[in-house]
Symmetry: C2
Subunit: 542 residues, 2 copies
């Protein structure tokens, strides 16, 4: 009546009960110096890791030494504080919010239970009294937004009597706080313990994204925020917000309010300017960039409802059929609209990048329309509608560029030979032969991010996280210089079959596999080891 498989996964719930007995083990890896994804990568020598030491760290840090010596934390006394010499102090909201947040993650409801000392007030182990966080850069980043070039590296030393977390910028401190919280474990008697440890850590890739699609199904704000929390637990740093598409237009534009009035599923299934600000700020406090995608010229059916003449009228024979195709690329009014629209988007979203889409443009409607045909003729495009698409996209790229924003585009824009600015990022998504596409894109000198192997909306039976985990993004033909052009990747959860009822269990911990692949060293590939850490990590996230 069922198969013998799955015994291991069957233990997950069993693990929810605290198994956090930590024998004293010495664990260390060789230190891997040098820049991310450059040079040889040493094999970690981790062994006998247990929950609470590196046995529950996810993603695995670049370098780690931990000892058997345990320190005890007193919830009533332990503090997270700015350290001496830090350029970010008590007025740094990113840090202060993180201190409060991580205090809660580490001790849960414990403070109330354990107010005061135990019967004798004598700790069984030496006490760790605080974690001092020192930001070393002159500009810690407290009031700014994380960006592609932000430093996320940190150096964590846990030793009696204080732990010290050093980072160039607050973004690295956020990553280090997450790691510190993963080091602390509760023993059978409710004591909070941490092994003396030293960790040097930094991301392998600078762009580590999750794509959420709020057009196929509207996602309530709460779902998006919960997902941002989960992203922070896995050191993701980009929310790729595929905010509108054919199915609905939930983004409430100030300049063009009819887009959501007519294009959203309903008057209340929208993201108001205040909602959008909330998402951006919640993300910022977790070191996460928010890159909105306004995909054109295809995937725009919902735009047409609130913006007259924006879409191409399709023809059936000699007459308009009543249906509409992609954005109409031959009208000046189209570009007037896009100029105003992207002016708004450029101010609403602080990130330096905007995703412009450009994928899956169906040419049938353009081909049916006599005015489009005439335009093609006048421009000398012949019958090559990819040229028309490129004509359109280049204009959009220029508009966005005029607002000092850079662009991300789906791979077709590159494939169709649009003239791209050198700082355009090409997102590779087509499943078959993506290594070849990465070769081509980087060979042409463009930066790329990889999504193709990580379409997490495609569910299947069993532990498919192993498939996502086993992807090696740089396993394509190309020079070292080309490899450096791969900025990272994204796990995509398209929304056809996803809404608030299943988003979290469908995305996590499957996306965690992608998180480790994009953060940890290239040689961190042991599935059994990953399985054990991921199991603990899932329990912690729950």
């Amino acid at each position: 009546s069922r198969r013998a498989m799955g015994r291991a996964m069957g233990l997950l719930v069993g693990l929810l009960v605290g198994l956090f007995l930590v024998p004293a083990v010495l664990v260390s890896t060789g230190f891997r110096p040098g820049a991310p994804h450059a040079g040889p990568e040493l094999a970690p020598e981790l062994s006998e890791r247990e929950p609470g030491s590196s046995g529950s760290l996810w993603p695995l840090p670049q370098w780690l030494r931990t000892s058997g010596r345990r320190l005890q934390l007193a919830p009533s006394r332990f503090q997270l504080v700015p350290g001496a010499g830090s350029s970010a102090g008590p007025t740094c909201d990113v840090l202060q919010d993180a201190f409060r947040r991580y205090y809660g993650y580490i001790f849960g409801q414990s403070r109330r239970r354990k107010r005061g000392l135990g019967p004798l007030g004598v700790p069984r182990e030496p006490e760790l009294s605080q974690l001092e966080v020192v930001i070393e850069s002159r500009d810690p980043g407290c009031r700014s937004y994380p960006h592609l070039g932000s430093s996320e590296s940190y150096h964590l030393t846990v030793a009696e009597p204080v732990a010290v977390l050093k980072a160039d910028e607050v973004w690295g401190a956020l990553r280090g706080l997450e790691t510190f919280s993963q080091l602390v474990h509760e023993d059978d008697y409710g004591s909070f313990l941490v092994n003396e440890s030293e960790i040097v850590d930094f991301p392998r890739f600078a762009h580590r994204g999750i794509l959420l699609d709020t057009s196929r199904h509207y996602l309530p704000l709460k779902s998006i925020l919960t997902n941002l929390d989960a992203m922070a637990f896995n050191k993701f740093n980009v929310l790729h917000w595929h905010i509108v598409d054919d199915q609905s237009f939930p983004y409430q534009s100030v300049v063009f309010p009819e887009l959501s009035e007519k294009g959203a599923y309903s008057y209340n299934l929208i993201y108001t300017p205040s909602d959008v600000r909330l998402v951006i700020e919640y993300a910022r406090l977790r070191g996460i960039r928010v890159i909105p995608e306004f995909d054109t010229p295809g995937h725009t059916q919902s735009w047409g409802k609130g913006q007259k003449d924006l879409l191409t009228p399709c023809y059936s024979g000699q007459k308009p059929s009543g249906s509409f195709g992609p954005v109409n690329p031959i009208l000046n009014t189209t570009y007037d609209f896009m100029t105003k629209f992207f002016r708004e988007i450029s101010t609403v979203f602080p990130d330096a990048y905007i995703h412009l889409g450009g994928d899956e443009v169906n040419f049938d409607c353009w081909k049916s329309n006599p005015e489009v045909k005439e335009f093609m003729w006048s421009k000398g495009f012949g019958g090559d509608y990819a040229k028309l698409e490129s004509y359109y996209i280049q204009k959009i790229l220029d508009i966005v560029s005029s607002y000092n924003k850079r662009s991300l585009v789906w791979q077709e824009v590159f494939d169709n030979k649009a003239q791209l600015k050198p700082d355009t990022v090409v997102e590779v998504w087509i499943g078959n032969n993506y290594p070849y596409e990465l070769s081509q894109v980087t060979g042409a000198g463009f930066t790329a991010i990889l999504a193709a192997p990580w379409y997490l909306d495609y569910i299947s039976y069993g532990q498919d996280w192993k498939k996502y985990y086993s992807v090696e993004p740089l396993n394509f033909l190309g020079s070292e210089k080309q490899k450096k052009l791969v900025l990272g990747g994204e796990a995509c959860l398209w929304g056809e079959y996803v809404d608030a009822t299943n988003l979290t269990p469908r995305l996590w911990p499957r996306a965690s596999a992608v998180g480790e692949r994009l953060w940890s060293s290239r040689n961190v590939t042991d599935l059994q080891d990953a399985y054990e850490r991921l199991t603990n990590h899932r329990c912690r996230m729950l």
Copy 2:
């Protein structure tokens, strides 16, 4: 970057906003007389159904007539009450609990919002003041448990000024209350409306089950209860509780407490006697039977931890290997244990049936054990270990039978030619060629239930509910008499990858497809119509 599919599902959330505008339509189906799954089945003539009329009924009733005349319900006045001549009155707890429950489903939080009358107190439509429930059988069933032979048929008439729901037994009233609640809809102004209607309804199959597996992952009581609610919304009537298996033994036995002490994932991941009683009572109040499965002789690794010598020691060469196989069928102590164990089970679970498992017995360990070999020789079984399995199973069947319980078994028990009592139910689960197996089982005169095409733990991308919906259980070679031996079917959610975090969205509304297949008339097969009703039904369940 994504496919054009899924537009329709994409509308689900859109539908969450009240689209419950109900134009007046006349909808009717032909009345199909006769016993369930016997005789020709008339095609429903439903057309232009809308949410609120039959457009949101799930599963579709056997016969339905609805008019365009709408009645209004006042939350502050509307009552569910026992009708004149009912054999079940205000002391019938099944009914009283259902009245309270369905009042809540129908009006939600509205009573508070709408205390008193509107500005003028003049209803826009004629008012429906109450639903009178009349139980006609001399024994309404208020204090008993639902069973395989219970009547679930009902006759619902909604007309001014009162609606009347007639049923033989309270179990039919529960089904009719669910249908009534599905007929009531809220309009754009917050008014509760119901179309005048008449419904005659009964299940096509008597056994309509959901299998939950609490061994691979422990399911908290709350998850099980939530699932029972969802089952009632879909007119399921059997919870097949696959309570223990190799991975864990969460059932707390009074006679053998060590089984869960040693065999559960943890001391708190168990079902105490009080938990079990709660599940059974919660199910009873919803007209749902609870059939426990204690699967032997395979799938019993967790039993071995708390019961010495119960499992067969496997040999490696001449010596015990230290691992264990299926239950040891050659020891008297095994049958002493089973006699006591099933005596307890027979009293704890009130249902007339116990599921004894009997699937997937691996013979390797038995073959390796010299004492088992000697036993085979002494019994004249030769090398046919299926005979040893049958020998064991027959003894277990006899034990259970001695407690006046009937048995369900997985199909291997039949395949291996165990001597079964005529009232044994054979559950067909092996995926390939299940129609042939149904022919064989019913051809031998046994009753059967079908699970094979409904293993809902096997997830896949997209709308796989259509696959489950399109199964026709009686589409196998056999006489009319054989077809009548098919008692129904079960949707199975094995627990390898299921726990409290994903149970509900993984099972529902996919299992609803099976629910309609097992309740509604054979000719209810229109996928588009089902899609629309299921969409509304999902919103209502949410």
